[in-house]
């Protein structure tokens, strides 16, 4: 009953996660999302679909928002990852996070970390994005609770745009 499974070939990886160096040996097929959640205990990254559609698992890789369910951990050798836990290392809400609370841009909270990561990446590159850019970014995320209106408000607030107006 306790016979071990065949030992997979483990591949060494060295990367930075939330500013800290991580050295690990991983099977080739280990998804980045599982590596972060199960190997590193960073469970703030959520898996909603496992095939790249919903955006819940979005993290920052070298500053860019990407789907962690569509990357293998082994591919991230030498990269810098930021998860939702690393967006605010001191535990204080960032302006992006605060905007979600201010505008009730979340309900169950499952999709929220992915959205926080996407908007954090966007605003780091472009602190004053256009409405079109904001919508394009948010379209990459599924939320089943909010109907998106309050998420859009949150994103507008974080981007310094007027919060209350109908969108085209």
């Amino acid at each position: 009953m306790t016979s071990a499974p065949p030992r997979p070939t483990l591949i060494p990886v060295s990367l930075t996660v939330n500013g800290l160096p991580v050295d690990a040996a991983v099977p080739g097929r280990l998804l980045l999302a599982d590596f972060l959640r199960d190997s590193l205990g960073l469970t703030g990254t959520h898996v909603g679909c496992g095939h790249g559609t919903c955006g819940s698992c979005t993290v920052l890789v070298d500053g860019e928002a990407v789907r962690s369910c569509l990357q293998f951990a082994v591919q991230l050798d030498g990269c810098a990852i930021t998860t939702v836990e690393g967006v605010s290392p001191d535990g204080q809400l960032t302006p992006v996070q605060q905007a979600f609370q201010d505008n009730h841009g979340m309900q169950c909270g499952y999709c929220t970390p992915g959205l926080v990561c996407s908007l954090t990446a966007l605003l780091a590159k472009d602190p004053s994005p256009t409405e079109e850019t904001i919508v394009d970014t948010l379209n990459g995320h599924l939320c089943r609770c909010t109907g998106y209106q309050n998420i859009l408000k949150a994103a507008r607030q974080a981007a310094g745009r007027p919060v209350e107006e109908a969108h085209g």
Binding site: G50, H104, C108, N139, H141
Partner: protein, 786 residues
């Protein structure tokens, strides 16, 4: 934002939290990635469950060979029905009628599979990846049986899922009010129509999951599960395994949305405990998205035929309705509720004194169908609101005016509607002003004055615009009860325990608002606990828009009892008659002597001071338990108004504007209520324009991923404008009704009516809720619309 500020002096009037847009207290930890959902729980020594599911819609299992899996490295255990049939009884259905035929699920297929995805064999392996690898090592042979997925064919009964019953119709629900035959005999006009409602699903962003373990200290079973009702799960599991409830702890941690899909008791909640009991190791199972398409409950699919009796003056006198619900392969936990609600609530806000309905629950070779936000309401609203528009058009009447003519007025309430809803009881509308709500919505959407001219001008330019209305009354706040405990510690901090376990509704915030107002304390001084049957002894759950009204009332009532106890303690401490005390700003004050007061913390310390006990008869705590029992159903109401534009060359529909005017009684937190409305509208919009869990004729579900089962994103949504009306219910002391489901309930009716309005020049008559994908819309439009 109107967050109350703590007041300076003890005599100043303290602002109320209830009614204020208080920011959610649960948000910061979720935003920081500190939430804990089932999948986030990684106990030492965890092993992983995977399940072989039927690839056939209907088949007899001729052999199961698990030997390759059993021999495989890393596989720890395998279970088939033969292994567990003596331990695991059938899964419960709690809304069966007394004459319903027994078609219950089992934790694993008992020789016949009746839908694609039905669990056949379960296994446990040492890793999650390895468990999925091992699925291919289980060899199952099937002998296919005839498949029936079409509702009409299933009703005809030529192919039977349970031949022993001789029919696929498992329940017929009857509603009889007045004299329908006489009303039709006297009718000036009779309208008859058949409507089809397609199958779509809740699809919360968090899939389901369980972790089962045997606690090493107590040797009790702990089941952590993504559920909307942990206390009911404890009872269900006890019943299925024949294990006393006292030996079971059920925990609902953070739950990532439910919408009804997690208001069910599932086979995995039996199988993981069975493995945990055998292996004495934590057993974890996380549903993957593909599996969720077939393994989480489906919803909505119905067919309705209605006959409506109308007088020439527009008075609707009678409705004679039949419906058929495609219940899927077996009865699940909540199986007849959609059919029951549809049949009980079809007339909505309209008087219609004579009414007859027969609602048939029919088994089909599909995943079991259960409740989804609104349960049977959205279907009923679509049917009734389409009929009202049809009648208005035929009579040449204004659709707002015709609705107003037939709507119950506030003076006619309360109104016993003569129908009943399973598990909830008699339908007696309590309060509301349906007409005012409708008129406000019509005004906000612009359905007055120039609308017809605007519409005509747009059509002349090739732009096809339409406005649709849907007025609804919905059952909320069902019982039987909810429990709460309020407890004060020596520092004056308050703990609230509620049996209503949330999954995004913001209970921590709204329950804090209620208790803070009752005790006149700061909201930050309150901790709300839920979701663990060992922490909260008793509870029902979060579904049917019940938590704020029933659970919230229980919490506030319990706080009120605590306040009375605190006053009693104060009377003792201050050596004064309790009648000379008043409660103000979180403290007991001597009337007329503001300086003589004792705070809640001081009183809690006094109540629990072991070295200075209270006199005999007084309890040694500042704590109260309260069970709020629902004295009836509270009925919320709303009117939805949608404006759409149709591209008549491509069939693409754009929702240009959307208005919801609604009344859920006393509003605790308007921001949270609006959020509920927005989310519900998005789900209704998804169901109307894109979402469908379609099946092939041989019973294969077509969507496999979220690329196939498409749901709205931001770019698909209109800007939703809301307005609140408040008609408090007398059914609880605080006037609250439910707000969770109205958005999803009204959206399909309003959107389909808007589409109908836009396409009216083409002579269309929409008798389906869609999904109105571009191809289906374009098929309604002649090749050359000019």
């Amino acid at each position: 934002m109107t967050v109350p500020e703590p007041t300076a002096g003890p005599t100043a009037a303290r602002p109320k939290y209830v009614g204020g847009a208080v920011k959610r207290r649960e948000d910061p930890r979720l935003l920081l990635g500190r939430g804990r959902y089932v999948a986030d729980i990684n106990l030492a020594g965890t092993v992983y469950m995977a399940i072989v599911r039927s690839p056939h819609a209907h088949a007899r299992i001729t052999s199961i060979d698990t030997s390759r899996a059993v021999a495989a490295a890393g596989v720890l255990a395998v279970l088939t029905w033969a292994d567990i049939k003596d331990e695991a009884g059938p899964l419960p259905c709690i809304d069966r009628y007394t004459d319903s035929l027994p078609v219950l699920q089992t934790a694993l297929a008992d020789g016949v599979v009746r839908y694609v995805g039905e669990p056949v064999v379960a296994l446990v392996a040492s890793t999650e990846y390895g468990a999925e690898d091992a699925l291919s090592l289980i060899d199952v042979e099937y002998e296919p049986l005839p498949v029936v997925v079409d509702l009409d064919e299933a009703t005809a009964g030529t192919t039977l899922l349970y031949p022993e019953h001789g029919t696929n119709v498992m329940t017929t629900i009857a509603q009889d009010v007045g004299d329908v035959a006489a009303a039709f005999a006297a009718a000036d006009r009779v309208y008859e129509e058949t409507f089809t409602i397609h199958r779509y699903v809740p699809m919360p962003m968090e899939t389901r999951g369980v972790v089962a373990e045997v606690d090493p200290i107590t040797e009790r079973l702990t089941l952590t599960t993504s559920t909307q009702f942990p206390h009911l799960v404890r009872g269900f599991l006890s019943g299925v395994l024949g294990m006393p409830e006292s030996r079971i702890r059920v925990v609902a941690p953070d739950v990532g949305g439910g919408f009804g899909a997690k208001c069910e008791f599932y086979c995995e909640e039996v199988l993981a405990p069975l493995f945990a009991l055998r292996l004495r190791r934590p057993v974890k199972w996380i549903e993957d998205r593909r599996t969720s398409m077939v393994a989480s409950s489906h919803a909505r699919e119905q067919k309705h035929t209605v006959r409506v009796a109308v007088q020439d003056d527009g008075t609707i006198t009678a409705v004679d309705a039949q419906s058929w619900t495609s219940n899927g392969a077996a009865y699940c936990t909540l199986a007849t509720t959609p059919a029951s609600i549809s049949s009980a609530m079809l007339r909505g806000p309209y008087r219609i004194p004579h009414y007859r309905a027969r609602a048939h629950c029919v088994v089909t070779n599909k995943t079991p169908l259960a409740v989804y936000r609104g349960a049977g309401h959205p279907q009923a609203v679509l049917v009734m609101e389409r009929m009202v528009d049809t009648i208005a058009a035929d009579l040449g009447r204004d659709r707002v005016e015709l609705r107003l003519q037939n709507m119950l007025t506030p003076a006619e309430l309360p109104s016993d509607r003569g129908t009943a809803i399973v598990l909830a009881g008699q339908v007696v509308y309590d309060t509301g002003d349906y007409g005012a709500c409708l008129e406000r919505a019509a005004e906000m959407i612009g359905l007055s004055g120039d609308w017809e001219a605007e519409q005509a001008a747009a059509r002349a330019e090739g732009r096809y615009l339409g406005i649709g209305l849907a007025s609804l009354v919905e059952e909320t706040s069902i019982g039987p009860y909810e429990s709460a405990v309020v407890r004060v510690d020596g520092a004056g901090k308050v703990t609230v325990l509620t049996g209503s376990s949330p999954h995004g509704q913001g209970h921590v915030t709204t329950f804090s608002q209620l208790v803070a107002d009752e005790l006149e304390i700061d909201i930050e001084d309150i901790t709300v606990l839920y979701g663990d049957t060992d922490v909260v002894a008793d509870g029902v759950g979060t579904f049917a828009s019940r938590s704020a009204a029933i659970g919230g009332a229980a919490a506030r009532k319990a706080a009120g009892v605590v306040k009375e106890k605190a006053l009693g303690v104060a009377a003792h401490v201050l050596e004064i008659d309790v009648a000379d005390l008043e409660w103000r700003n979180g403290a007991a004050h001597v009337r007329g002597v503001p300086a003589r007061a004792r705070t809640l913390g001081e009183l809690a310390s006094a109540a629990t001071a072991w070295n200075a006990p209270l006199p005999g008869g007084m309890e040694f705590n500042l704590e109260a338990t309260y069970q709020h029992q629902a004295g009836g159903i509270a009925f919320s109401h709303a009117t939805h108004a949608a404006k759409v534009g149709v591209d008549v060359e491509t069939g693409e529909v754009t929702v240009l504007d959307y208005v919801v005017v609604h009344d859920c009684g006393t509003v605790i937190n308007p921001t949270i209520v609006e959020g509920q409305v927005h989310g519900g509208v998005a789900q209704g919009l998804g169901g109307t324009f894109m979402e469908e869990l379609a099946y092939s004729p041989d019973g294969q579900p077509l969507p496999m991923t979220l690329q196939d089962y498409i749901m709205p994103t931001l770019g698909d949504m209109p800007w939703i404008r809301t307005d609140h009306m408040e008609s408090p219910t007398p059914l609880n002391p605080y006037g609250m009704k439910g707000a969770g489901e109205g958005g999803a309930t009204g959206a399909p009716g309003a959107l389909v009516n808007a589409l109908q309005d836009a396409l009216a020049p083409f002579g269309v008559n929409l008798t389906s809720d869609g999904p109105w994908t571009p191809d289906k819309v374009l098929a309604l439009i002649p090749e050359d619309p000019a």
